[in-house]
Amino acid sequence: MRGTLMERESIKSFWKQSVPLMERIGSGEKLVLSDLLGPVKTSSSLAAVKKQLNRVKSKKTVELPLNKEEVERIHREVAFNKTSQALSKWDPIVLKNRQAEQLVFPLKKEQSAFAPIEHVLSGWKARTPLEQEVFNLLHKNKQPVTDPLLTPVEKASLKAMSLEEAKMHRAELQRARALQSYYEARARREKKIKSKKYHKVLKKGRVRKALKEFEKLRKVNPTVALEELEKIEKARMMERMSLKHQNSGKWAKSKAIMAKYDLEARQAMQEQLARNKELTQKLQAASDSEEEEEGAEEEGELVPDAVNEIQMDANGPNPWMLRNHSRGTKEIKVQDPEQLPEPVAHEASENEEEDRPGAEEEILLNEFEERRSLRKKSGLSQEAKLVSRQEPKDSSSQEVLSELRALSQKLNQENQQSGKQNVSSVRTVLAVQREEPTEAEEEPLLLQRPERAHTMEKLEELGKEGCFQNKEVPRPVGEGQQSERNPDNQPGAPKEKKRKEQMIDLQNLLTTKSSSVKSLAVPMTVEELEDEEERDQKQMIKEAFAGDDVIRDFLKEKREAVEASKPKDVDLTLPGWGEWGGMGLKPSAKKRRRFLIKTPEGPPRKDKNLPNVIINEKRNVHAAAHQVRVLPYPFTHHRQFERTIQTPIGSTWNTQRAFQKLTTPKVVTKPGHIIKPIKAEDVGYRSSSRSDLSVVQRNPKQLSIRHKKHLKKNSVD
């Protein structure tokens, strides 16, 4: 009873509390979980429910799972991205192979491996009666059939030559060689030590040791000691033979040791010393005297060469310091006339020959010498004639010539060293100078041999300098003429300058080439003969082609071609249309003008300004069949394409090597070789270590639902 009462009370209280809730429901308000929890708070019996509800409150709802198709699609996309990334590693190789000049297949060289015959035999059994019979026979004779086939000796020999052993052997050899080289290097190093002290100590040590041993031996075994003594003696002799007679030498030292016991030795040493002294003294004395003599001689006459040379070194560019006064002035004067750097207007005819190759210079010089000797016999008068005949035209040049002659005479008087020189020869040289300036300049040099050599040296040196000063502004012509006229009045400095220029010119002459030279040496009569021959030839040709005038024919042809290529006017006049027509009646000018259609003039002909050429601008249909009309695909410019066509690849135009290189085929395959697909290992990539199969088997999810169904059915069946 009491219990029931209690329950009733609690229910009453609960209802009292929940009445407002009910009202709220009745009014259509929304209920929240907390509203429901409110009344629960009081009752302790509902604690468990309360806890649960609280937990629910704290958690959020789980989202709906994606449908299966979506999931698969995402899986596929991820897998595809992964795979395509993995495949991109092949890009560089594919590109390389596509662009390769030559691909040789199979890519990887196969090593030919022969299976040993016993392996082949082991997998094979006799089946047919015949085979069995044969095998029975073999077994009866205990012939090795399957396993051995190699006798133990053969096997041993095979083993002996095994790779590992060979490697070991090689390693040992290498070690021995290394050791040897190490010792050699050490010996070399020791030998190289320059320290005298070190060697002295080393030697002393050695000698001391030898002496000790010798003493010992003398006590123990006199006969052997004697032999040893002989040996030492021999060594000493050898040393003596080495021609070292100084006191400090090895021999001397050994003598010094022996001198204690041996009187002869002491004497010999002294003798040696004396001789040595004597020898050395004598040698010194001889050389000194010679030098002194030379010096005296040179000082007596001239400034010694050595001094001259020093001067040259000191101030190279100053030629005044380089030469003896007399010769210097002479040379300048001789060279003066042809110092004009450029051909002067009125002298053009003569100066033409100024730039002729240096190689011919010497030949011509020789010729001149010969001629000179000839002329000596014939006398002066003839020479004069010759000169006058060769240059009769130029009055001004003659003027210069006379001056030169006078000059040369003066020079000859001054020149002491070339006293023997023939006046006439100089004259001839000067006479010729106008035509052959450089020759003439060197003429006197030729005659005086030693001096010439001297000057040549200078020349060379000057030439070297001249290289730097080559770019000097050429003197104006007028000045040049002036200087030519009065060479004596020239001040020192410009003269020097001119000299240098002259040298430069010489250098130029030596280096530059020019067309053929008409030398004076060729007699006129010969020229005349040649002329006659030429004339004859021309005459012959003329006679042979008398009939045809080639040039006129060509011109005519060209005119015709031009006419033919010109666009023609179209005349559409119809006679008798709109007026009377008939014999002797012409359509009126007005009408003709009206119906004449003039074609516009095309672009000017390409051979318009080329008198002896006809350029055909028409397209040749026959050639067009063999010509490419459009630029083919990989080329971007026609010139590029033309270049590829124009470089020949045949062996007619190329060397064998180049030909082979040009004709290498793009793909080379070997007959009878299997070409396998490219492998990651072949191109240096690491192939995946796990096998595809193991990966598949580790994945549990792969069986499709349909297949699972199948399997289930199978199991049910």
Partner: protein
Amino acid sequence: MKVKMLSRNPDNYVRETKLDLQRVPRNYDPTLHPFEVPREYVRALNATKLERVFAKPFLGSLDGHRDGVNCLAKHPKSLATVLSGACDGEVRIWNLTKRKCIRTIQAHEGFVRGICTRFCGTSFFTVGDDKTVKQWKMDGPGYGEEEEPLHTILGKTVYTGIDHHWKEAVFATCGQQVDIWDEQRTSPVCSMTWGFDSISSVKFNPIETFLLGSCASDRNIVLYDMRQATPLKKVILDMRTNTICWNPMEAFIFTAANEDYNLYTFDMRALDTPVMVHMDHVSAVLDVDYSPTGKEFVSASFDKSVRIFPVDKSRSREVYHTKRMQHVICVKWTSDSKYIMCGSDEMNIRLWKANASEKLGVLTSREKAAKDYNQKLKEKFQHHPHIKGIACHCHLPKSIYSQIQEQRIMKEARRRKEVNRLKHSKPGSVSVVSEKKKHIVAVVK
């Protein structure tokens, strides 16, 4: 009178021994060898003509099958061995050097749908219409042994194709779905589907060996990843693809033989545009196989011809046909890249040279040099109209020729119509679709 004599030093021209090469003095002065371009042009012309003259590619036929040849397989280790499966369930193994059948097996009842060799060359697999997968030993049965398969797997559905993994003991079959099998088990390790149509062929990638490609009769090509056991991507074309072949030198390139007379070379990573559309066939293309060099491929077509395409050209380099050859069902390029085999409807397997005018056998060095030179000359002058005309000329059977003309007209009409439509519509309303994109319907992720 002085008589001038030629005098030469014998050292300059006499050989020391007769085994020495003859000394040929050469002067490469270009003035002595004028007209190099015209001379080389003539040489190129002659080389091209001779190439056409000597273009005799047919080597022989292997006859023995009593029904159409449905599938071919190469031996991975031996160049001389070829396997073929016929429509009557017969499998034959041929020796190419002798051109003889060395073994005959009645493998299946009904068609032999697919045949493939194991990578080691010791056994081969066949699938047939009798819902079985059979593994056979490559060597014949011993004396007194029965001709029996090593293993036989009974399946629930018909398998239409089979291919073996390039490195491991795994093979893949296709039919209702693509199944991957472990050789040791009788149930597939994993099977992958995408859509509900029958799959006609499946091929393992020879380089990245975990990749597979398949083509189904709902016009799509699907790529699979064996490791992750998922399909990767699907591309839907205008018409059904009969088979695909992976490039053995370029891991991501494959070529699909399509019913719309074209072949499509795809980069696996970008399926929305084929790299190249190869068109020349005038009927459905049934099979395709790459040269092992990866530079060319051969295709077999229902139009009774076999064509060779360079990978980077849209037009074929060569077309092979004979009067007796009917619809070519399968084609293979041998692993030394010298020969092509094709199996056709009229029960024959034919052997062709891959280079029609190539001289077979060992070449002397001079022959080789001449061959290389001629080849280079042909390449150099290939754009010249005369040479191009000769090089491109080939005789075609009347049916193919007339069909080409017909299709040219059709194509021209279509093009004209397109141009007209473009011309007479509001600018921007009609877009021009390139030839490459035209045949791709969709790419499904």
